[in-house]
Amino acid sequence: MEMMLAIGLGTITACAVYLLLRGRMFPVALGLSLLASAANLFIFLMGRLRPGAAPIIAPETSIYADPVPQALVLTAIVIGFGMTGFIMALAVRTRSETGSDHADGREPVPDRNEVDEP
């Protein structure tokens, strides 16, 4: 279970980094939100996997889930969502002002040897 989650998280993060390094704003924004998701899952897992356990400590319980990461992840989701919304609005505004969704705000000058991807 742990191994599966770790591999999954790694894959998501790798995809996010790849998207972040693209030149267009749409993949960059997608990459940012993927990275935020990866971070959120990571926070959640740092409370350890305790399937079926309640986040309540009582004298007789020996197995319980840690409630703190759940609270943290809630905060992180809200902030991450707000930030993604902001960067989307900013990207759309830049796109409408410059006519290009390139991260530099202008279309790159095409190189003779390489054709820019659509």
Partner: protein, 514 residues
């Protein structure tokens, strides 16, 4: 009096919320309210500054939850110092903005106060996750502030600035939760205690988390190679906002100081050699590259932005040298450079405005109106940044140089700091002579408004602060010495924060986890 510590966060938040509700009210009312809040903040910052004793930090448990369970606000000497600096800067910037900049965008004043709230919160909080939250508050406000007035350059610069910092925030979260996973706490004092007694199999993870945090804070502090977002963002930001931004890189530096002296200050087995191996070379390279950038700048604002990075490089050089003398030098230089850079950003705006269409481009242009006072103000800012005696920059650099002890470090630091000082002086002289003397014949046709009294007042306040750093150099260095001593021996901080609860009640986390 017991609630004094929460005021620097609550006051700007309330004032900003009120300003949002009153957004239809005349601008004059908004300016008065905003100025009043800034003045109130200064008074509170002074009160906290006076109250904090070197051996007893003030602790405020939010909601009266005791330390490791709830979030605490802690004001030690360092926090009080940063709060006071922020308050001075805020007052000057709000005063300056009230002279006309705030008409260019809606919600200038509430956004400004939200950013100040984030800054104050970041300096006061004693909880790592809470630090993340306050970082986000100050960042989202700064994105919007950097966009005030819009325009293509601002959009482009802010897009990069926002993308880099949002990515950094995710890394911050990963590092914080990794630390939580190892130690089971987020309270900085408690973290310091837990990391000092960490089990050997967790050392690698703790180092990874520490270096991730260092990387994130290096993005905020604009260290090489993570500074490329800064020059366009700062150079295109409105002048009063750029002046406030001069403390934003210092938030990163503050966090690095906390990270290295408090959280990883325990010094137990191999937990942390964070500073020595990475920070010093990176800080020196930053200093060199930023100075080269300042020399090659096409605009005065870009030059000032590069000088911001150079100042961060100098401060972190001192932090990396380590020891109480170097930390003391770092704090003095921090205060000096924040004020001097704010002065330069404001002067840049005034100079640019009086040159009409040429703005602040470093090309020969029409002669200036009011060239003498503007030139003198620029001379003051440039000479202070370069460290010409008897400016505060001179004392700051002297303290940094004086704090080096071992041979190779001293050689590197002396060479780099002295050479970059000369280069900064050359860069400032070049900019000043182009702007003020190398003028083209036709006088400016545009009827640019001359600087107003309020703008001069704001400038004088910041320049006066810089002069006070020189005049009261002895008591101020005594204060920074005591602060550095407090930072080097964090046990007082830890004891005061954790209080009487530390024994018995706190169960070590690993039992839960495994």
């Amino acid at each position: 009096m017991t609630h004094l510590l929460v005021v620097p966060i609550v006051l700007p938040a309330l004032a900003a919320a009120l300003l949002l509700l009153l957004y239809r009210a005349p601008l004059a009312a908004a300016r008065v309210l905003s100025l009043g809040a800034a003045a109130g903040l200064l008074a509170v910052a002074v009160a906290i500054f006076v109250h904090v004793q070197p051996d007893r930090p003030l602790v405020y448990a939010l909601g009266h939850w005791p330390a490791p369970f709830g979030i605490v606000l802690v004001a030690d000497r360092l926090s009080a110092f940063m709060l006071l600096l922020t308050a001075v800067l805020t007052l000057a910037a709000v005063l300056y903005a009230g002279q006309g900049w705030d008409t260019r965008g809606q919600f200038f004043h509430p956004l400004f106060l939200f950013q100040v709230m984030g800054l104050n919160g970041a300096f006061l909080t004693g909880d790592l996750f809470n630090l993340f939250v306050f970082f986000e508050i100050l960042l989202i406000a700064s994105y919007c502030l950097a966009l005030q007035g819009l325009g293509l350059d601002r959009l482009r610069a802010t897009l990069h600035y926002a993308a880099v910092n949002i990515a950094a925030s995710s890394v911050f979260l990963i590092a914080v939760s990794l630390l939580y996973g190892i130690t089971g706490t987020l309270n900085m004092a408690h973290l310091a205690e837990r990391i000092a007694q960490i089990r050997s199999e967790d050392v690698a993870l703790a180092r990874a988390a520490g270096l991730l945090l260092l990387g994130v804070f290096a993005i905020k502090a604009a260290l090489f190679p993570l500074y490329f977002w800064l020059p366009p963002a700062y150079a295109n930001a409105p002048a009063p906002v750029a002046a406030l931004f001069s403390i934003m890189t210092k938030v990163g530096i503050y966090a690095i100081i906390r990270l290295t002296t408090l959280i990883y200050g325990g010094g137990a087995d191999a937990t942390m050699e964070l500073t020595s191996s990475w920070l010093l070379p990176v800080a020196l390279v930053t200093l060199v590259l930023a100075t080269v950038g300042a020399l090659g700048a096409e605009r005065l604002a870009t030059m000032t932005a590069y000088l911001t990075i150079a100042s961060a490089g100098t401060i972190l050089t001192a932090v990396a040298i380590g020891g109480s003398a170097a930390l003391s030098a770092a704090l003095y230089y921090l205060a000096h450079s924040t004020l001097a850079i704010a002065v330069l950003f404001l002067v840049t705006d005034l100079l640019g405005r009086s040159r009409g269409a040429m703005h602040d481009q470093l090309h020969p242009g029409p002669p200036l109106r009011q060239a003498t006072p503007l030139g003198l103000a620029f001379l003051f800012g440039g000479a202070t940044m370069a460290g010409v005696p008897p400016s505060s920059g001179f004392f700051g650099k002297l303290m940094v140089l004086h704090s080096t002890h071992d041979g190779t470090t001293a050689a590197m630091v002396w060479t780099v700091v002295l050479v970059t000082s000369v280069l900064t002086l050359i860069g400032c002289s070049r900019a000043g002579s182009i702007l003020l003397w190398n003028t083209t014949d036709p006088p400016s046709s545009g009827q640019a408004a001359p600087p107003r009294a309020g703008e001069w007042t704001a400038l004088a306040m910041l320049a006066g602060g810089s002069l006070l750093l020189v005049v009261f150099a002895a008591p101020i260095t005594r204060y920074t010495d005591e602060t550095a001593a407090q930072l080097i021996a964090p046990s007082t901080y830890i004891d005061t924060v954790l209080g009487p609860l530390r024994e018995g009640l706190i169960r070590p986390y690993p039992e839960i986890g495994r």
